[in-house]
Amino acid sequence: MSEAAATPALSLEGVWQAFASADGAEVLALRDLSLAVAPGEFVSLVGPSGCGKSTALRLVTGLIEPTRGCAAILGRPVEANLDRVGMVFQKPTLLHWLSIEDNVLLPVRVRRGRVGEADRTRARALLESTGLGQFASKLPHELSGGMQQRAGICRALIQDPDILLMDEPFGALDALTREQMCFELLRIWGERRKTIVFVTHSIPEAVLLSDRVVVMSARPGRIESIVPVPLPRPRTLESMALPDFQACTQAIRRIIYGYDTERAVVGAAL
């Protein structure tokens, strides 16, 4: 990458991750994974189920320690920079006893012990910007799945993190809502220029959103290939009709479904 000299927003260097499974055997989840994400970059992780995508994100949030290698945020150890990271889960994971606004403010409450009027104003502005303005005082179960997921994104954004980690955030949504949420996310990203690492099972979704798509191979997870997406920004519905869009999704599919002879072809096509 050209910005190789600048400090990456987050990096994994030679990371190995082994888990002890219940029967005592060791499961190797990640094998020698190295990845650097530049500030402001949008990177997606795709790959078969169980290849270690969630594990990679958990390493960056410091939930687990790499068996070997190291993870860094903005050039410093993960623990030192955790407040620069926001996390969006596959399920909205809202606390059902708190109003939407209080859910969004939960990270503030945890970090500072209490919530001030300025925080509330910020939370309401965030909710307003994602179309949830009128729902601030509602309980989560009064919202649809897509709205709950948007509230979950607001919660990740409340501390204005530099890095947003998203683990299949739209996985539980219907196709239509999912597409809308993608453009919503692109809008947020366009406005605030976060670094985003986005895990998904949908190849078109990854291509539509990302600057680069990281394709991982099945267990033990390794990076099979990194596919740059040359589509112009801002991306719109029309972007999906561009030849480059098709070329990228096809390239990624080929990497995932078969890579002996075609690999050379993919390399040539890019």
């Binding site: 949030t61 939930l63 955790l82 996390m87 889960f89 399920k91 994971t93 606390l95 059902h96 006893w97 939960l106 990270p107 409450r109 945890v110 970090r111 309980l139 179960h141």
Partner: protein, 250 residues
């Protein structure tokens, strides 16, 4: 509400009618009117008896809440505490409390302390179990969220695990309050000089079955009212818990 009330009225009428038509003697089954007359005879002297029982119920109930909560937190937070404490709890639970009640009276005296302790021993275990279950059944995602946010132990407890366990706590409280009434009566059977349980032993000793029936009815009313006040507290202060209970039941 109307249908249960109607069933109750019908049942009482049937009871009254049956006793009169078949001429059932008082010591076998007193008619409702006879029971009422007997209660009326005692009049205001019922008040200290009701008060004494209520005091025992509430003392035992509050003790079980105050002791169960920290114990549940300790058990749910530390597998070591869980393993150390559970066998003891199981022993106290498989021992019939009624059997050790007279021993407790010898140890703790014939006063309120003994009665409250007996009530507590009968009521606290189901409450403890539901509290532990509640604390351990925090949704996995909420646990993960809590860890990502780097909550301290107390923040995790206060912001996430305790609120998540509220529906469980309340179903435990409902069981505990009903058991507390039973416990108080048992305690009064063993040692008391007033109270509704005491009235039952005294009146049956003198074959005053109508008064015993009256005391039982007062006890049931007390139990229902106490149970309903817990339901009310939950509705007023934790409406979302009532909601989630309804959702999980459906």
């Amino acid at each position: 509400m109307a249908i249960p009330a109607l069933t109750l009225v019908a049942l009482v009428l049937l009871w009254e009618g049956a006793v009169r038509v078949f001429g059932i003697p008082n010591y076998l089954l007193p008619a409702p009117t006879r029971v009422l007359a007997e209660l009326d005879k005692l009049g205001v002297r019922l008040v200290p008896n009701i008060g004494a029982t209520l005091l025992t119920v509430l003392a035992g109930f509050l003790a079980s809440v105050v002791i169960s909560l920290p114990l549940a937190v300790a058990i749910a937070s530390s597998p070591f505490v869980a393993r150390a404490v559970y066998p003891l709890l199981l022993i106290t639970q498989s021992t019939p409390i009624i059997a050790i009640a007279p021993i407790l009276v010898v140890m703790l005296g014939t006063g309120q302390l003994s009665r409250a302790t007996i009530t507590f021993l009968i009521a606290f275990f189901p409450l403890l179990v539901s509290m532990v279950t509640g604390l351990l059944s925090t949704p996995r995602e909420a646990v993960e969220l809590s860890r990502v946010l780097r909550t301290s132990f107390l923040q995790d407890l206060w912001l996430i695990r305790l609120p998540a366990s509220v529906p469980f706590v309340f179903s435990g409280l409902k069981v505990a309050i009903s058991l507390s009434v039973i416990g108080a009566v048992v305690a009064e059977f063993v040692t008391a000089n007033k109270g509704l349980g005491y009235l039952i032993t005294q009146s049956t000793a003198f074959f005053n079955v109508p008064l015993a029936f009256g005391s039982v009815i007062l006890l049931s009313i007390m139990g229902v009212l106490l149970f309903q006040s817990i339901v009310l507290v939950e509705r007023i202060f934790f409406p979302w818990a009532v909601q989630s209970e309804r959702i999980t039941r459906e």
